[in-house]
Amino acid sequence: MTDEPAALVQGTLEMLVLRTLAIEPMHGWGLAHRILSMSGEVFLVTQGSLYPALVRMRRRGWITTAWRTTENNRRARYYELTAAGRRQLEVERALWQRVSTAINSVMSPAWATGIP
C-alpha cells in the first residue's frame, strides 16, 4: 500500500458521502476533507466527482442543501441527510457489508492453504 491517496472503489462515493453526512451537515470541502481523513488519507475526492454526485443525490431526495455561515464567518452550501438519505445509507451499508464479506472471504489467504 502506498501513501498516495487512492481512487475510489467504483460506485462507493455516494455511500461514503451518505455515511459522512450522517455525522453532521457539512459543506462540500468539509465533506471531501472528512472522507480523506476518515479513510486514513486514502480516498481523495475531487471536485469533479464530488459535486456532480451531490447534485444527483439531491435529485434523488437523499440530501437537502442550505446556505449557512461557517465558523470562519464565510457563506457555504451545507448538505444534510434527509430521512430518505438515512434509509438509503442503511441499504447501502447492508449491501456493502455483504459484498465486502464476500470479497474478503474470496480473497482470504486461507484458500492458499486449501483450508476454507
Binding site: 459543506h27 462540500g28 470541502w29 468539509g30 471531501a32 476533507h33 481523495l44 475531487t46 471536485q47 469533479g48 466527482s49 459535486y51 456532480p52 454526485a53 447534485v55 444527483r56 439531491r58 435529485r59 434523488r60 431526495g61 446556505w67 464565510r74 457563506r75 457555504a76 452550501r77 430518505a84
Partner: protein
C-alpha cells in the same frame, strides 16, 4: 415520489438557471479557498497553495460541466439552442418556411374537413337506439320491382300487424308534411307538422319526455284538414313547447290551436330530436289510418314506412316474411295483387345518393394529401441539398453527427407543428365552408363537428411525412464526408444529378395527380353546363313562388276554390306582374301524386296498353302562363271550368301521344283520380326534375278538384323583373284578402328547382377547389425543381453563354425540360383518369367520363400553367453572369 423529487429538482435547476450557476460558482470558489487555506496551514506559501489546489482539483469549467450533466438539464439546454437556431434559419429562408407550412396546412386542413364531413354523413350511426335495426320499407309492383314507392295504408296496417320479424313498423304521412298555422291574428305563423302512426315513438325509441304520446285509437281521429268535433292530440317538439307554453310542464292536457282547431297536448319530445327522414319537426299528430280499410286502402300510396327489426333478426329473414305477408294481402285484395315490398337499411336509404359525392370528395382529398406529402418531400430535399455545404462545414468544424441530425429533425418538427396549427385553422374554415355549401343538399351534414380522432389522424400523417422527409436528408447529410462536399462546391456532380432525377419523378407524380383532379373537375363542370342548358319546358326566370295553406276550419272546398282564383286574379292585376297561378307541386321539383290513368274513348279505350301512370297536378289561376308552358291545342282552364260542372283536364303532349295515338285528343275522355274527365287542351311537356326527365302529366282545375283534399297550392307569380318589390305587393294583397294567411317559404322558381342540383354543385365546388390546389402545388413543384436545376447548372450555362450560346437557346433548353416532365406527368395522369372513369360515370350528366373536350382542355390548361412555372427559372438561367460563374 422519487420521480417527482427528481422532476422538481430538474425543473428548479432549469427555472433558476442563473441562480444555480451563481451558487455553483460560489460553492466551487469556496472549495478552492478552503483547500488553499488548508495547504497554507500545512506550510505552503499562499500562491503555491492556490496553484497546487487548482492542479489537484482540476479546472473549474470542466467541473461545472460535469455538475450540469448531473443535474439532467443539458439536453434541454441544447434543445433550446437547437430550437433557437431553427427559428433563426427559418427566419432567414422565410419563403421556404411559408410554402412548407402552407402546404401542410392545406393537406391537414383539407383532409380533416372532408374527413369530418364523410364521417358525419356516412360513418356515424343514426342518432337512435340500435340504429342498425331500423329499415325503410318501400312499395313497388311486379312490373318495376326496383321502384321505391310510398306505401298504402292497407299494406302498412297489414305488415304492422303480421310481420313478426318487426319490433314495430311506423308510418309517416308523406303528403301532409306541409304544416299547420298556429296562433291567431297578426301572430299567426306556420309550423312543420308530421303525421305519424301511434307507435312512431316506440319504433325510433325516443319517447316524449313529458306526456304519453299517442294511443292506437288516435289513428282513427279526424284528419288535420277536416272539420273536427272532438279535440285531436298533438306531441310538441321541445322548441314549440317552449315557445307556445313557455316550457310549462302543465301544458300536457291543455289545448293548442292549429289551423283554428283545438289539439290536446299529449307529449313533449326531448330537446334536439329530429326525424330520421323529415328532419326537424315542430309537432307530431297521429296519421289517420281510417282509410286503411276503405276501398282505396290498398291502392293509395302516401305513407313513408320505417320498421325496426327484432333484435338479432337479419334483414333477409324479415324480407322473406314480408314477402309472404304481401302475397297473402294480394290474395285478399285483388287490387294489391301485383304489389311488392322491399326493405332497405335506413341509414343507407337516407345517405344513399350523397355517398358517391362524398366518396369522390374523399378520393380528391386523398390525392391532394398525397400531393402535399410529395411537395413536402420535394421542398425538404431541395433544402437539404442547398444546405449540404453548411452541414459539411459544421461537421468539419467538429459538430457531433447526432446533434446535426437532431437539429434537422427539430427543424422538420417545427415546420410540421406550425403546419399543424395552420392546418387546424384551415380545417375550421373548410368545415364552415362545407356546411355552408352542402347543408341543404347533403343529409346529416349540419351535424358536422371536428372529430378529435380525425384531427389526430391528419396531424400524425402530416407530422410523420415531415419527419420522414426531413430525416432522410438529415441522415444523408450526416453521412456525407465533409471534404467531398466542400471540394464539390458549385460544380454539377453526379450526386446532384441523382437528386434532380428523384425530384423530377416527384414532379411527374404531382403533375399526374393534379391532372386526374383537373379532369374530374372538368367533367363536373361540363355536366353542370349540360344540366343548365337543359330545356325543362318552363321559363323559370323572374317567377316568384311561395306556399299558401288555407286552414280547413275556415275554408271549405268552395271557399278554397274561390280564394285561390281570386288571389290569382288580384295578383295578375298588380303592376310588374305578368301572370299568377297555383299548382299542387312546383314543376321540375320531383314526382308527386302519380296515379293510374286510362282512356275512356279513342282506339285504346278498354285496352291494357292505354293504362299508364301520370303525374296529377291541380292548378289554379293562370298557372300555365305564369311558368311559361305553351298551349299546343285547345285551351287551358278558365272561369268556364266550375265546380259541379263536367270535369275537364288538360294533358301534356307525351300523354296525348301515349293514350290517344293518331286522333285529336281534344274532346276525348280519360279516367283518373276516380273520375271521368274530358280533355279540353294539350300543353307542352315539362320535365319532372331538373335533369330533364320526362313524364306524363294530367292537370286538373283546382275549382273542380278542391273537394278531393285541401291542396296547399304553391303560388307562382311571373314578374317583369323587380322581384323584391313584387313580393311586398303580393304580401300586401294577401293581407287584404285574409290577414291570417301566411306567405310560406317565399323563393324564386329558379331556386326551388335548383335545390335538386345543389348536391352536384356542392361536389363541383369542392372538386374544383381541390383541382386548383393540386395544380398550384404541382406548379410549385415544377418551379422548384427547375429553379434548382438551373442553380446547379449555372456554371454550365455560363460556359455555354461564354461560348456564344444565345439567350433564346438556353431559355428553350430549360423550358423544354419542364415541358417534358409535365408531358410525362400528364400521360401518367391520363392513365389514372381512364382508370377512374367508372367512378366518375355515376356523377357526370350527359358527358362521357373521357370526354375529349375535357381531356384536351385539361392538357392545354395544365400545359399553360406548367409553361408559366417553367418560364421563370428558364429566364433566370439566361441571367447567369458569365464572369461570376467562371471565376467561382
Amino acid at each position: 415520489m422519487s420521480i417527482l423529487t427528481d422532476l422538481l429538482a430538474r425543473a428548479r435547476s432549469l427555472l433558476f438557471r442563473n441562480r444555480e450557476e451563481r451558487e455553483l460558482d460560489d460553492e466551487l470558489k469556496f472549495h478552492l479557498d478552503m483547500e488553499a487555506e488548508h495547504r497554507q496551514r500545512l506550510g505552503t506559501s499562499a500562491s503555491e497553495a492556490q496553484r497546487q489546489s487548482r492542479i489537484e482539483l482540476g479546472g473549474i469549467e470542466p467541473v461545472k460541466e460535469l455538475v450540469r450533466d448531473a443535474s439532467g438539464t443539458r439536453w434541454l439546454d441544447e434543445l433550446r439552442q437547437d430550437f433557437g437556431y431553427t427559428l433563426r434559419t427559418l427566419n432567414r429562408s422565410r419563403g421556404f418556411a411559408a410554402v412548407t407550412i402552407l402546404t401542410l396546412a392545406i393537406g391537414i386542413g383539407g383532409t380533416t374537413a372532408v374527413f369530418s364531413a364523410v364521417d358525419a354523413v356516412l360513418l356515424q350511426p343514426l342518432p337512435y337506439q340500435e340504429p342498425g335495426q331500423l329499415v325503410r320499407v318501400y312499395q313497388s309492383w311486379t312490373g318495376n320491382p326496383p321502384f321505391k314507392g310510398f306505401v298504402t295504408p292497407g299494406h302498412y296496417v297489414a305488415i304492422r300487424e303480421q310481420v313478426g320479424a318487426f319490433d314495430g313498423a311506423a308510418a309517416i304521412s308523406t303528403y301532409s308534411a306541409v304544416g299547420a298555422d298556429i296562433g291567431s291574428g297578426a301572430d299567426v305563423h306556420r309550423i312543420k307538422l308530421l303525421p305519424t302512426s301511434y307507435n312512431y315513438f316506440d319504433v325510433v325509441r325516443v319517447r316524449p319526455t313529458l306526456g304519453t304520446g299517442f294511443a292506437v285509437d288516435d289513428e282513427h281521429g279526424p284528419d288535420i284538414e277536416d272539420n273536427m268535433d272532438a279535440a285531436a292530440v298533438v306531441v310538441l317538439s321541445h322548441d314549440t313547447w317552449e315557445q307556445e307554453f313557455r316550457g310549462d310542464p302543465g301544458a300536457i292536457g291543455r289545448t293548442l290551436q292549429m289551423n283554428g282547431q283545438p289539439y290536446l297536448v299529449a307529449g313533449v319530445m326531448p330537446k334536439g330530436y329530429t326525424d330520421p327522414i323529415a328532419g326537424s319537426i315542430d309537432a307530431w299528430i297521429p296519421v289517420n289510418l281510417t282509410r286503411a280499410h276503405a276501398s282505396d286502402g290498398p291502392t293509395n300510396h302516401y305513407l313513408t314506412v320505417i320498421a325496426r327489426l327484432k333484435s338479432g333478426v337479419p334483414i333477409q329473414r324479415a324480407q322473406e316474411e314480408l314477402n309472404r305477408v304481401v302475397t297473402r294481402f294480394g290474395e285478399q285484395f285483388p287490387s294489391a295483387k301485383e304489389s311488392l315490398m322491399r326493405l332497405y337499411p335506413l341509414k343507407e336509404d337516407i345517405v344513399g345518393g350523397s355517398s358517391r359525392a362524398l366518396e369522390i370528395m374523399l378520393g380528391g382529398v386523398g390525392l391532394v394529401l398525397l400531393l402535399v406529402c410529395v411537395n413536402i418531400a420535394n421542398l425538404l430535399l431541395v433544402r437539404a441539398s442547398e444546405r449540404s455545404r453548411e452541414f459539411a462545414l459544421r461537421s468539419a468544424l467538429g459538430a457531433e453527427r447526432f446533434r446535426m441530425v437532431r437539429q434537422l429533425l427539430i427543424e422538420s418538427l417545427t415546420l410540421a407543428l406550425a403546419g399543424d396549427l395552420a392546418g387546424l385553422i384551415v380545417a375550421r374554415i373548410g368545415m364552415a365552408a362545407i356546411v355552408a355549401l352542402g347543408a341543404g343538399s347533403i343529409p346529416r351534414l349540419a351535424k358536422l363537428t371536428l372529430e378529435p380522432q380525425l384531427l389526430v389522424f391528419s396531424l400524425v400523417i402530416a407530422t410523420i411525412s415531415a419527419l420522414i422527409f426531413g430525416l432522410a436528408p438529415a441522415l444523408k447529410a450526416a453521412r456525407t464526408q465533409p471534404a467531398d462536399v466542400l471540394r464539390d462546391q458549385s460544380r454539377s456532380s453526379t450526386g446532384g444529378m441523382a437528386q434532380i432525377r428523384l425530384r423530377e419523378w416527384l414532379v411527374i407524380s404531382q403533375v399526374a395527380l393534379a391532372f386526374v383532379l383537373l379532369v374530374g373537375a372538368g367533367l363536373l363542370l361540363a355536366s353542370f353546363r349540360q344540366i343548365q342548358s337543359i330545356d325543362l319546358g318552363i321559363k323559370p326566370d323572374n317567377v316568384l313562388a311561395f306556399e299558401l295553406n288555407l286552414p280547413t276550419a275556415r275554408y271549405d272546398s268552395t271557399a278554397r276554390g274561390r280564394l285561390y282564383e281570386r288571389l290569382a286574379t288580384q295578383l295578375s292585376a298588380l303592376p310588374g306582374v305578368k301572370a299568377a297561378g297555383g299548382i299542387s307541386k312546383l314543376p321540375a321539383t320531383g314526382g308527386y301524386n302519380e296515379w293510374g290513368l286510362a282512356p275512356r274513348s279513342g282506339p285504346l279505350a278498354g285496352d291494357k296498353r292505354g293504362q299508364v301512370g301520370a303525374e296529377n297536378r291541380i292548378v289554379s289561376g293562370r298557372y300555365f302562363a305564369a311558368v311559361g308552358i305553351p298551349t299546343l291545342s285547345g285551351r287551358v282552364f278558365d272561369e268556364r271550368d266550375v265546380a259541379g260542372g263536367p270535369d275537364h283536364v288538360v294533358i301534356n303532349q307525351s300523354l296525348a301521344n301515349a293514350i290517344f295515338p293518331g286522333i285529336d285528343p281534344l274532346g276525348q275522355t280519360l279516367n283518373t283520380g276516380g273520375r271521368n274527365s274530358e280533355v279540353i287542351g294539350v300543353v307542352a311537356n315539362v320535365a319532372i326534375d331538373n335533369e330533364g326527365s320526362q313524364s306524363h302529366y294530367v292537370y286538373h282545375a283546382h275549382t273542380q278538384f278542391a273537394g278531393d283534399r285541401n291542396w296547399a297550392l304553391a303560388q307562382v307569380v311571373s314578374t317583369t323583373g323587380n322581384n323584391a318589390a313584387v313580393q311586398n305587393e303580393v304580401r300586401e294583397a294577401l293581407r287584404t284578402l285574409d290577414p291570417q294567411l301566411v306567405m310560406f317559404r317565399p323563393t324564386t322558381l329558379d331556386q326551388a328547382i335548383g335545390q335538386g342540383a345543389a348536391q352536384r354543385l356542392f361536389t363541383l365546388r369542392i372538386l374544383v377547389t381541390f383541382a386548383v390546389v393540386a395544380l398550384a402545388l404541382s406548379a410549385l413543384g415544377l418551379f422548384g425543381v427547375l429553379s434548382y436545376g438551373v442553380r446547379l447548372r449555372s456554371r454550365e450555362f455560363g460556359i455555354r453563354m461564354a461560348l456564344g450560346a444565345e439567350n433564346g437557346s438556353i431559355l428553350s433548353m430549360v423550358l423544354k425540360e419542364g415541358m417534358l416532365v409535365t408531358a410525362i406527368g400528364m400521360v401518367v395522369g391520363l392513365v389514372g383518369a381512364v382508370a377512374l372513369a367508372r367512378v366518375m360515370a355515376s356523377l357526370v350528366f350527359h358527358v362521357s367520363p373521357l370526354d375529349p373536350r375535357v381531356l384536351i382542355g385539361t392538357v392545354v390548361f395544365m400545359g399553360m400553367v406548367a409553361a408559366v412555372a417553367a418560364y421563370l427559372p428558364a429566364y433566370r438561367a439566361t441571367r447567369v453572369d458569365v464572369r461570376d460563374v467562371l471565376q467561382g
